[in-house]
């Protein structure tokens, strides 16, 4: 759907007004103020700015499309939508919803005064959320009219970002019901999980294990599978976490000749030239010393993981035990995967997994959390391995190519922003997107939000990469006002310390991108 540019008779606002109103709008956006008088004021300036922008755009003679739903969704105010927000989370109380509904209706009246109004805008849908209606339906309903003005929310299709606790409970019930079945329908579970997993006890832990294919679908097989995997991990630990002295001791069969009390001590041959200073590639000792570097690196990184969380850092015995477990997992992974070994950042991917599994109310799962985490970590990394491999950086599957895909995605959805970022302000996406993509956004948000985002990422049947790119694109689009107003330094600063946002809204926008990708 293309927005037709139209010049207006209103005087163009001065450019230096623009940043102020943008930030002001953003602030109100995040604070979700609903005083109508300030709101009206915002709308005026906002409209002005939009028109100014439109003018600038139209001057450029190139088709830069800003999707209409995008404009309205900036206000993040869902009327209680009829179409389901596939990736939204309950973040606020029901009363907030009501306020937003008022907000929407008021805003719609104001816009009708200002500029082209959308006659065919549908009225704010009823509060009942029907899960089955897909977001694409609401999008196609949106009529094609001129869109310099921010469109009222209803047009975007009811974007219900905040789910009432009532719906949260119902989702929890649905999940529990799904989990209690004898054979779990993975597709159904993925769909449910992508809506967000409630924080109820043990649910997330079990669902993640299922999504990462650690637990088989047939519930009856769980005990045997778990026992097998845990025994395997135990044998890994015994084999790989030993030092060479013990290994050489096991290698030789001869007993120590302690019998004699006096006399020259007998010298014995060394098995296979295994001595500590050996420089041979296959020498146990040599490998040990080479591994020491990696082990030291792992040790340093584990100590730096989430220093603000008592679970991971601090002097308590449990924190130390957790760190020890993280270290063991990373060391064993590095030894089992000589191609990729350990790369800084893997500890960040490991931390949420271990946290979720360790906080399971089921005693059995808690005790074996380390083993479970190891296998799930392997599964998670199998999709992301290529990002960590330096040699693959410039290849088709490497991180550079992924970043350029993100760039293309942004260009497809919001060409104006893309142009501004990459060409005008020359913010190379590698500066910010590298960390977003390789660490699956663990460094951008607080821990609770990370868990919610990962619910969505892990529930994608094609693997987290595609969804991740969409979420990154949504992150950029959500702060587009500030980005468009900023220069290189400001934009880089903003993107490298991304402001905290409503995660539900972010995931909602990301999902909208999916449905828009073909339009």
């Amino acid at each position: 759907m293309r927005a037709k540019k139209r010049t207006t008779s209103l005087p163009a606002a001065r450019m230096d007004h623009v940043p102020d109103s943008y930030t002001h709008i953003c602030q109100t956006h995040t604070h979700t103020h609903t005083h109508t008088h300030t709101h009206t004021h915002n709308i005026n300036t906002f409209t002005l700015c939009i028109q100014t922008l439109a003018k600038i755009r139209s001057n450029n003679m190139v088709n830069k499309r800003v999707p209409e739903w995008l404009n309205s969704s900036m206000w993040s105010s869902p009327a209680t939508g009829s179409s389901p927000p596939p990736k939204s989370r309950s973040q606020s109380s029901p009363s907030h919803e009501d306020r937003i509904a008022n907000h929407t209706s008021k805003s719609s009246t104001v816009t009708s005064v200002n500029a082209s109004v959308n006659e065919t805008r549908e009225s704010p849908p009823s509060p009942g959320v029907t899960r089955t209606k897909s977001p694409s339906e609401s999008v196609t309903e949106a009529p094609a009219t001129i869109t310099e003005v921010r469109d009222p929310l209803a047009r975007s299709g009811s974007s219900d970002n905040e789910i009432s606790p009532r719906e949260d409970a119902s989702r929890q019930a649905q999940l529990l019901e799904e989990l209690s079945r004898k054979t779990i329908n993975l597709g159904e579970l993925q769909r449910l999980a992508s809506l967000g997993i409630p924080d109820g006890p043990g649910i997330r832990s079990t669902v993640w294990k299922l999504l990462l294919a650690y637990l088989p679908r047939d519930k009856g097989l769980w005990p045997s599978e778990l026992a097998k995997k845990r025994a395997q991990y135990k044998s890994f630990k015994e084999d790989l976490l030993k030092n060479p002295s013990e290994i050489t001791r096991k290698m030789e069969e001869s007993t120590s000749k302690n019998g004699e009390d006096k006399g020259l001590l007998s010298r014995s041959e060394i098995p296979e030239g295994e001595h500590p200073l050996s420089l041979g590639e296959t020498s146990v000792w040599n490998q040990f010393f080479q591994d020491t570097e990696i082990i030291e690196q792992i040790d340093r990184d584990v100590k730096r993981t989430h220093p603000d969380m008592h679970f991971f850092s601090g002097d308590s015995a449990s924190a130390k035990a957790n760190q020890e477990a993280l270290k063991n997992i990373l060391i064993i992974y590095a030894k089992l995967n000589p191609g990729i070994r350990y790369v800084q950042g893997m500890n960040e991917l490991l931390a949420p997994l271990f946290y979720v599994f360790k906080n399971d109310p089921n005693e059995d799962f808690v005790v074996n959390a380390e083993a479970d985490t190891f296998f799930c970590f392997v599964e998670l990394l199998s999709g992301c391995r290529d990002n960590f491999c330096k040699q693959l950086d410039n290849s088709v599957v490497g991180i550079r190519s992924t970043i350029s895909r993100l760039s293309q995605l942004l260009k497809h959805h919001d060409e104006e922003l893309w142009r501004h970022l990459e060409l005008t302000t020359k913010v190379n996406p590698q500066f910010y997107a590298f960390r977003w993509i390789t660490l699956l956004l663990t460094q951008e948000f607080n821990f609770a939000d990370i868990l919610h985002i990962w619910d969505t990422l892990l529930s994608d049947p094609e693997g987290p990469q595609e969804t991740l790119l969409r979420v990154c694109c949504a992150m950029l689009i959500l702060v587009r006002r500030r980005l468009l107003a900023g220069d290189f330094t400001a934009n880089l600063k903003l993107l490298q310390s991304y402001p905290s946002t409503n995660i539900g809204h972010l995931l909602y926008v990301a999902n909208k991108l999916r449905s828009h990708s073909t339009s």
Binding site: P244, S245, K257, N258, E260, R267, I270, P276, L277, S278
Partner: protein, 188 residues
């Protein structure tokens, strides 16, 4: 698992120019935790080189050492073992095992490391074990004729010691090992 290098009698620069190349390639920093040196280095440059391999360096004075501040004997505790260090020219007759046993009882150590004879020896008696790492450069000795360059690496692991003997014979490095355990109550 502590790696301790026992080395000595290099006599650089008087009787030898440098360590054999094959030994030098094996002795890299980062692997060894302690170095105990019987003496007769003789100059400061050798001291610095050994220090670069490992910061924990213990030396006793040999009769040709230029630095007179090294002690005559030294005792070190590593893990469960007490190690004694002495150059050996003080113990007369040179290389006599009974006299060395006396010194060992005097120092009250489990393992006594001495040098001066430029010959590798590992000997066990009631009071403990005596180890002579030989000369690392194969320097000339007035005591023996055929001197092979040699040194000793000890792997101390709880109550067990594995002694790796590195010798340069006919241009090739030969490694042997000797195993012994310490009974927890008494000395070996």
């Amino acid at each position: 698992m502590v790696l301790v290098l026992a080395i000595g009698d290099l006599h650089i620069p008087h009787r030898a120019a440098d360590l054999p190349a094959k030994f030098k390639s094996m002795l890299v920093p980062g692997k060894i935790q302690h170095i105990i040196c019987t003496g007769n280095l003789c100059i400061k440059e050798v001291h610095d080189y050994l220090k670069s391999l490992c910061p924990s360096l213990h030396i006793t004075r040999g009769e040709y050492d230029e630095d007179s501040r090294y002690p005559e004997t030294k005792t070190i505790t590593i893990g469960q073992f007490k190690l004694g260090l002495c150059h050996g020219h003080q113990v007369v007759p040179w290389g006599d095992l009974d006299s060395l046993a006396m010194l060992q009882r005097q120092l009250d150590v489990d393992i006594l490391v001495t040098g001066h004879t430029h010959q590798f020896k590992a000997y066990k008696h009631e009071a403990g074990v005596v180890i002579n790492p030989g000369s690392a450069t194969g320097a000339y000795s007035s005591v023996t004729y055929d001197v092979n360059p040699s040194f000793v690496l000890m792997d101390i692991d709880a109550l067990r010691v594995v002694v790796y003997v590195y010798e340069l014979i006919d241009g090739e490095v030969k490694v042997d090992k000797i195993d012994f355990k310490k009974t927890s109550t008494a000395t070996i």
